[in-house]
Amino acid sequence: MAGSDKILEEITSSEYKYGFTSNIESDTIPPGLTEETIRFISAKKEEPEFMLEYRLKAYRHWLTIKEPHWAHLKYPEIDYQSISYYSAPKKQKVLNSLDEVDPELLRTFEKLGISLVEQMRLSGVAVDAVLDSVSVKTTFKEKLSELGIIFCSFSDAVKEHPELIKKFMGSVVPITDNYFSALNAAVFSDGSFCYIPKGVRCPMELSTYFRINSAGTGQFERTLIVADEGSYVSYLEGCTAPMRDENQLHAAVVEIVAHKDAEVKYSTVQNWYPGNKEGKGGIYNFVTKRGICLGDNSKISWTQVETGSAITWKYPSVILKGNNSVGEFYSIAVTNNMQQADTGTKMTHIGKNTKSTIVSKGIAAGKSNNSYRGLVRINKGASKARNYSQCDSLLMGDRCGAHTFPYLEINDKTAVVEHEATTSKIGEDQIFYCNQRGIDTEKAIGLIVNGYCREVLNKLPMEFAVEAQKLLAVSLEGSVG
């Protein structure tokens, strides 16, 4: 016992592997948040008037509400006035090829294993790479535009497609939704916008890599995906962040709108800097992700692999409004060392014959805390709604914690709701069995953990699944027995 816990500790206590900073000159404003800050951001981004008004409305609402503390998380108070709310790589002229891109930036991408050059050549994946706050390079835009697909930075969308932004921004996550989403609405930097027209099946996975890069700068990404009738899109979001010694606030908002017969698959690999072994530094990740199945027979599927951040507060949710609509949530959340995660989902059944599936796999190692929090709400009139939830927790060592907070609100008698939950410890017997076949303890843990997560990994697009498997192994390195 003691021996295996020791191995566990050794393996889980390894340091973050993607710790490096790149050196691009930033255009950063001094810390602090006032109406002036918001006007500055809006002006800097050359936004139309409606956007500024939206931001100011959100800011004024934000001032009236308080930071929520119901999650199973502990962290020092966030001083919102000490954060700098805008940072952008120096304004560049429009680029026609990669040759014009800052070589330092390209090197950063290469270190992350995201070579745009490779991506452009090998392809299948269009990348809207976000470095800090401003989109630097968007590929495959032309090919997509032939199909009428819009895939661009949020800032561009505000200027080029204001009618779509006006119609859908805030339609799923309104300004008044919560503290962090209100903050995001006030100060959001940039992000992605995606529109798939009627009947179009997006032929490639749309992918955005996010990255925090400027010391002391909060990241406020905003993403909006609108899938028109009968369309389909698979969207990938992935990120790794550089080593950092101070806490960074990250409050993103993602909204998805699926019209009749449309399907949106949204996959995330989140690997922000988790802080060091003692819990110093690391990203505070307060994310609001929500989709609405607006039309009949629509489907929204969230898949997430959460391995990073010091604090994760995140509940990708689906509002099942259309009849026969489907919502899915597949999650792997790994916490190690001093990391804390409170993550889960919210499935709100409004339409008839709506169906939701929740599969959550939590893995806790080190001294970390890993909580699943989920709500299944079945409204009156949502006849024959069905939900299946499965929440598993895997513990490594005896100093970590796993918690499950499932909430059910059933207001229709015809609903069928199932919930299963398990908690297990990674077995030393399993590890010894692997050892005896020539597989060392570290690899054995990778193997066992990947097996445990297989149901979720299978939901990821192929190229992402491979990356995610490696990430799981790396995240738990120095951890198990």
Binding site: M1, G3, S4, G427, E428, D429, Q430, F432, Y433, C434, N435, Q436, R437, G438, I439, D440, T441, K443, L447, I448, N450, G451, Y452, C453, R454, E455
Partner: protein, 253 residues
């Protein structure tokens, strides 16, 4: 190949093996028999390197190397295989993926690169046939939901895949019906060669009707008290372990 000298092992302060000696050469099959609690499974576990067993004296040399210094995976890479009495389930990990990892780890230890997928599949098919294992089982997660017999058969299949120099079979016959027993034994017989050796640990003589041992040892009270050939197993079968217990009830520590 294997040389155990005066091995003393304690579990939670209690001495289980009390100065055990055993020598196994290439090409030989040794059977270890003994009553319950004699230390048979402890011997198997200590050879494989399971923790919780404290070696308080003696040595285990494998090809001249002291393997007590090696971690369990290093011993496996050196060519020691243990067929578990109670094989472990690993949910979500396919047997094929598990074995591919194991094969390539062992190859890496020998300075060889990973096996080509095509070559691996060919080997997989060949060995499946050799030990008559259902291809269905190898596609499933390691031992997950397997019956007792299927688990044992899977152990023999893994042994065939990893081709160890020394295979220790820890009560592989326990819980097997006669058909499964024969299939398992046939698998072992097909894998026997001049280059490898087997240590067959069993409570009953039955298995030894199918796997003919070169030597039979009786383990009692932490020591090997009698060694002989196949006839010794038959004698044990007819006289029962009480015979041994009577004869060796007083062993000086």
């Amino acid at each position: 190949m294997l040389e155990i000298k005066n091995l003393k092992v304690s579990v939670e302060g209690k001495e289980i093996l009390k100065g055990l000696n055993l020598k196994v050469n290439k090409g030989e099959v040794h059977a270890i028999m003994g009553p319950n609690g004699a230390g048979k499974s402890t011997l198997a576990s200590v050879i494989a390197g399971k923790e919780d067993y404290e070696v308080t004296g003696g040595s285990i040399l494998f090809n001249g190397k002291d393997i007590l210094e090696l971690s369990p995976d290093e011993r496996a890479k050196e060519g020691v295989f243990l067929a578990f009495q109670y094989p472990i389930e690993i949910p979500g990990v396919s047997t094929i993926n598990f074995l591919k990892t194991a094969v390539n780890e062992i190859r890496a230890h020998k300075g060889m690169g990973p096996m080509e997928a095509k070559e691996f599949l060919a080997m997989l098919k060949e060995k499946q046939k050799l030990v008559q294992i259902d291809t269905n089982l190898t596609g499933r997660s390691v031992n997950e939901g397997f019956s007792g017999g299927e688990k044992k058969r899977n152990e023999i299949f893994q042994m065939a895949m990893l081709n160890p120099q020394l295979a220790v079979l820890d009560e592989t016959d326990s819980g097997l019906d006669i058909d499964a027993l024969r299939i398992v034994a046939e698998g072992v017989n097909k894998l026997r060669s001049k280059e490898n050796a087997f240590l067959v640990i069993t409570h009953y003589q039955r298995l030894l009707e199918y796997i003919i041992p070169d030597f039979v040892h009786v383990l009692y009270n932490g020591q090997i008290v009698k060694s002989g050939t196949r006839e010794l197993a038959l004698e044990l079968e007819s006289k029962g372990y009480d015979w041994i217990k009577k004869e060796f009830s007083e062993i000086p520590a």
